[in-house]
């Protein structure tokens, strides 16, 4: 029996994938180069801007935002204040700024791509049936795997890190946008239609506003996923807190690893609560 199985030649899936990747890299290298250069300088610019802000002012501003976003409650504001001061105190401020830039870029790109795809899915059941398995694939594939094409396309550095993060973080925004629009009560869709709305009017005036909180929940997930990708992306040279975790791992420095990891957790909690309370706000 095993002979029959062994006699079958191995299907050249890996080779095939490699060939496709090579072809893509060769054919579109000017484009990838452009993205690599443009993206890198844009992100470096943002990071430098963030670093240029005196840390104490930065911390106070974020704490104030937290205070007002949570409707003048002190909990998150105090946590933000203490947490950010701790990160500064541990000498990880520059790394934090790099991480913020990476998360912001990856999230914004994921939203810009994800929301329209979600809208398309909600409007067409055919599109939904095609896109859904692709999203499943994207979410189950281990995040590390995305690093390989990212390196092939963009070399190493922050841009491939963003690329891998976008792919990894995209699905929740797409799914929740689709869900949010499909959950708009039928009667309201009928009301919009019965008054003679065009498709755009219905989308802008009725569906998106009503789906807003669901979409925001998806965006919140996307932001957190892109943050979780930061550590992984540091393996291909993306700067930030992830790189500290990685180097601590490589040198078996438990203490440094813990501090960098804790900083990531603090930052994750702050942006999670912040995006959630923005969503709750009327």
């Amino acid at each position: 029996m095993s002979n029959i199985l062994d006699s079958m030649p191995r299907l050249p899936v890996a080779d095939l994938t490699e060939n496709v990747m090579d072809w893509l890299t060769d054919s579109f290298s000017p484009l990838f180069n452009f993205f690599q250069k443009g993206g890198k300088s844009a992100m470096e610019f943002i990071t430098e801007m963030l670093i240029a802000v005196p840390p104490i002012i930065f911390i106070i501003i974020v704490a104030l935002i937290a205070f007002f976003a949570t409707r003048r409650k002190f909990g998150l504001a105090v946590f933000t204040l203490v947490g950010l001061l701790f990160i500064y105190n541990q000498g990880l401020w520059e790394e934090l700024m790099n991480t913020i830039t990476l998360v912001i870029f990856a999230s914004i790109i994921a939203i810009i791509i994800g929301v329209p795809i979600g809208i398309l899915m909600s409007k067409s059941s055919v599109a939904e049936q095609i896109i859904k398995p692709i999203l499943d694939f994207m979410q189950t594939m281990p995040g590390f795997v995305y690093l390989i094409p990212a390196v092939a396309f963009f070399g190493i550095g922050v841009v491939p890190g963003v690329f891998a993060s976008v792919i990894f973080a995209l699905p929740p925004t797409v799914r929740f946008t689709n869900l949010g629009i499909r959950q708009v009560p039928r009667e309201l869709v009928e009301a919009a239609d019965s008054y003679g709305s065009t498709g755009w009017q219905k989308l802008i005036k009725v569906e998106l506003p009503l789906a807003k909180s669901t979409i925001m929940a998806g965006i919140n997930q996307t932001v957190l996923l892109s943050l979780s990708m930061v550590v992984i992306a540091s393996m291909i040279g993306a700067p930030g807190l992830g790189r500290e975790v990685l180097s601590a791992l490589q040198r078996a420095q438990v203490g440094n690893g813990f501090v960098a990891g804790l900083s990531l957790v603090i930052f994750a909690i702050i942006i999670d609560r912040l995006t959630q309370s923005l969503n709750k706000k009327k």
Partner: protein, 402 residues
């Protein structure tokens, strides 16, 4: 030429629509089609015409296809076959752009759960129809405020729908529909989600409104009392089929089949029967000809103690009692002129029984039914109560007396 004309419209949901449609043409019934093809019949070969300015009620229990039917009229649902004409134009053949124009300018819809947009204020909801038409902000604001003012809701214009009661929300729904100034109002169970008292108020308001603005109204309901109260004509639906169309009176007196008859058994008859249905032939004296002796003899013959007094033209004057007639006869008077009493209440024949019950119970005398000053009948307490008590017996009793 009707305002809305529906011609052999059928709507089938599900798969195998074509084979189901063939079965419809062969006049197979709903359950058989479901069994053979798996397709569900929403509306089955419906045809009717709605005249301009009419309140046309489509009534049926849930699942009868009435909500589907009203959505076919503005093509929220596309018919599987058949034609729908609005002002003579076939909307089934229109492209999207033409259909939008019809929806924007000719017909507005009011929904069971109000269909108000929760993120918009009352004013923004009211101007929605005008907004999608591209009417400038100032103009649409004025129009929407006018519509809200007519509904008495202007003070609430900056509130959100969730801050209003159900009745008020539906007033907003109606104001939104009217702000568009459409010819046709489609009202899908518009008052069904409201509690009974508010519901009655809204029905009254709708009728008042109809007096003023004369729209063509398609009103969907599952409540026969509501249908009878507001409908000029009623179409009764069952299993997607229209089984009877007629005025409330026609349907009540002449139900098309047993289904309609069982449906009618639930009707609160006081809301349907008019004075005309319950009044009896009046015993009267002519004050210009008859004397007290004639009156007394007539009372003895008919076994009554009161006679209504009329003049030669049978115009209603008042009434005389047996006691008064006896005394006048003793005094030797030749005419009943002097003993006519005038404190008897009068009602018109087309008034609803429910509205005269109070008058009847408070009046010590019977109640005269007067139309154009002529005496046409009399209401006697016992007969009215019998007429209300049980359906068929009551009607027979009334028929005996009239």
């Amino acid at each position: 030429m009707g305002k809305i004309k529906v011609e052999n419209v059928t709507k089938i949901f599900g798969k195998h629509i074509n084979s189901a449609l063939k079965l419809v043409e062969q006049k197979k019934d709903k359950t058989e089609i479901l069994k053979q093809t798996g397709a569900t019949i929403g509306v089955y070969d419906a045809s009717f015409t709605v005249e301009e300015g009419e309140i046309f009620v489509i009534m049926g229990l849930s699942g009868s296809g009435k909500s589907t039917l009203v959505r076919l009229l503005n093509h929220l649902i596309e018919p599987t076959s058949g034609n729908i004409y609005i002002d003579g134009e076939n909307i089934s053949k229109m492209n999207k752009q033409q259909l939008r124009t019809i929806r924007r300018e000719k017909m507005s819809m009011v929904f069971q759960n109000f269909g108000l947009f929760p993120q918009r204020t009352v004013l923004e909801n009211t101007e929605y129809g005008l907004e999608v038409r591209g009417i400038p902000k100032e103009e649409r604001r004025l129009k929407a405020e006018k519509a809200l003012e007519n509904a008495g809701l202007l003070p609430y214009k900056d509130q959100y729908p969730s801050q209003l009661s159900g009745g008020m929300q539906q007033r907003v729904g109606l104001a939104r529909a009217l702000a568009n100034n459409p010819d046709i109002l489609l009202m899908d169970e518009a008052f069904s989600a409201l509690d009974p008292l508010i519901r009655k108020d809204m029905q009254d308001e709708l009728l008042d409104l109809q007096q003023k603005v004369r729209k063509t109204i398609i009103f969907i309901t599952h409540d026969l009392n509501e249908a009878l109260r507001i409908g000029d004509r009623i179409a009764l639906m069952k299993d997607g089929k229209i089984i009877q169309i007629g005025t409330g009176e026609e349907i009540l007196t002449n139900p098309a089949n047993d289904y309609v008859r069982t449906f009618l058994e639930d009707v609160d008859r006081s809301k349907v029967l008019t004075v005309e249905n319950a009044m009896i032939r009046p015993m009267s004296v002519n004050i210009e000809l008859d004397g007290p002796k004639v009156a007394l003899k007539r009372m003895r013959d008919e076994k009554v103690s009161v006679l209504l007094a009329v003049d030669k033209k049978r115009d209603y004057i008042g009434y005389i009692t047996a006691d008064d007639a006896l005394e006048a006869s003793k005094r030797g008077e030749k005419s009943v002129m002097n003993i006519v009493r005038v404190d008897m209440p009068t009602v018109p024949p087309d008034m609803l029984i429910q509205d005269v019950l109070g008058i009847i119970s408070e009046s010590p005398t019977p109640v005269a039914v007067v139309k154009d000053r002529k005496l046409v009948g009399v209401l006697i307490r016992g007969v009215v109560i019998q007429a209300l008590s049980s359906n068929s017996e009551g009607v027979q009793l009334v028929e005996q007396y009239t």
